[in-house]
């Protein structure tokens, strides 16, 4: 459910007048009559109007703040999809071929039923995926117990332990319906990449100079390399976020968290040492004293 305060761009503490003002401004901007060529405007306008309905009056706002509109919105979303299916909807009609309507209703109303035959056994398979394959998705072919090949489309963002079901690809030893094939996913670890929820954490070694002055560094991600801006004065352990380069879920896309590791040169340069010694005397710098 979208937050009506966010849709209208007001704070949750905003007054009714402020909400009304924000609504009027946005409604004017997105009104379909003013932008007939923009396909997305109508939906946006509806969204703004609905948000205002939710928090535009004291009564509605109290209900929303107490969490009541969630249910209302859910019903609305379910019925929105339902409404699209009531006039030859593609999704609903995809079932027409699976069971003929007449036959189904005859069975339903005349009590006709068939004796069920014992189903054949299911078979389980284990599929190892690299982290890249799991995050980005992949298509693989596995050879089933009956020698046939099965093309398996792995969706992006799959996690270890996910079980994919392939109906009818199990055993077919007896005359009953065939069993199912189940593929259990195992995502192999990748050195240097730690998955934490929807985020992926990596370490980035940088030089003393880069830490001090800042830099633009090319960082590998599972989606390809990106240039990361390192701000000046970062320390080992500082974390920088690259949005949209983590795990894809149904609600968001995680980030890659880049953990900085400052690496000093193996050999000290006498000139640098001299400069540091001179600097050290001049400035009061004690990281253990910082709060």
């Amino acid at each position: 459910m979208k937050n009506p305060y966010k849709i209208l761009g007001v704070k949750e503490t905003a007054s009714l007048d402020e909400i009304k003002k924000a609504y009027r401004t946005l409604a004017k901007k997105h009104h379909p009559d003013l932008n007939p060529s923009n396909k997305t405007n109508e939906a946006k306008f509806k969204e703004i109007s609905h948000a205002y309905d939710q928090i535009g009056t004291n009564e509605a706002r109290t209900k929303f703040d107490q969490g009541e509109p969630g249910e209302e919105n859910s019903k609305q979303q379910w019925s929105s999809f339902y409404n699209t299916q009531q006039n030859a909807g593609r999704y609903a009609n995809s079932y027409a071929d699976q069971f003929g309507d007449d036959e189904f209703f005859e069975n339903l109303f005349h009590g006709a039923h068939q004796k069920r035959r014992a189903q054949n056994q299911d078979i389980n398979y284990l599929m190892d995926l690299t982290l890249e394959e799991a995050v980005l998705g992949v298509e693989k072919v596995i050879t089933l117990a009956n020698g046939k090949n099965l093309k398996v489309k792995i969706p992006p963002g799959i996690t270890s332990g996910t079980k994919l079901r392939f109906a009818g690809h199990g055993l077919t030893e007896n005359s009953g319906p065939p069993g199912n094939a189940y593929i259990m996913i195992n995502v192999l670890p990748k050195a240097g990449y730690i998955v934490q929820g929807h985020d992926i954490e990596t370490e980035l070694p940088i030089s003393f100079m880069e830490a001090l002055l800042g830099a633009e560094i090319e960082v590998p991600t599972l989606y390809g390399s990106v240039n990361l801006q390192i701000p000046p004065n970062v320390s080992t352990g500082s974390k920088l976020r690259i949005k949209g380069k983590g795990i894809i879920t149904n609600t968001d896309v995680g980030s890659q968290i880049v953990k900085i590791k400052v690496v000093l040169p193996k050999k000290s340069d006498p000139e640098l040492l001299k400069a540091i010694k001179s600097w050290n005397g001049k400035y009061d710098y004690n990281p253990r004293g910082e709060k």
């Binding site: 699209t84 609903a92 963002g157």
Partner: protein, 88 residues
């Protein structure tokens, strides 16, 4: 009435990230009307919003989503068939 939107437009329209929409399509939870150009119509957009809500509001995981969609589609089909065949 939405006639046909590209994924970028659908993302803007629904407020859902393009990658998430693409994931729904790759999972075959959403089947674009035009599979070649990946354009989505109103049915697809409403279905995308429904899937997102299933995950966000009801905590439904990826394994359960196709089962729920399958049942919803069957129910919608049966409801439509019932109306057409027996409610004249």
């Amino acid at each position: 009435m939405i006639s046909s939107l590209k994924i970028v437009e659908a993302a803007e329209n629904s407020g859902i990230d393009q990658n998430i929409i693409l994931k729904f399509i790759l999972n075959e939870w959403v089947v674009p009307l035009n599979k070649k150009e990946l354009t989505l119509d109103e049915e697809d957009i409403e279905r995308i919003k429904l899937i997102r809500e299933l995950g966000e509001e009801f905590g439904v995981n990826d394994e359960a989503i196709p089962i729920i969609l399958h049942l919803i589609d069957q129910l919608n089909h049966l409801h439509l068939s019932f109306k057409n065949n027996y409610c004249h």
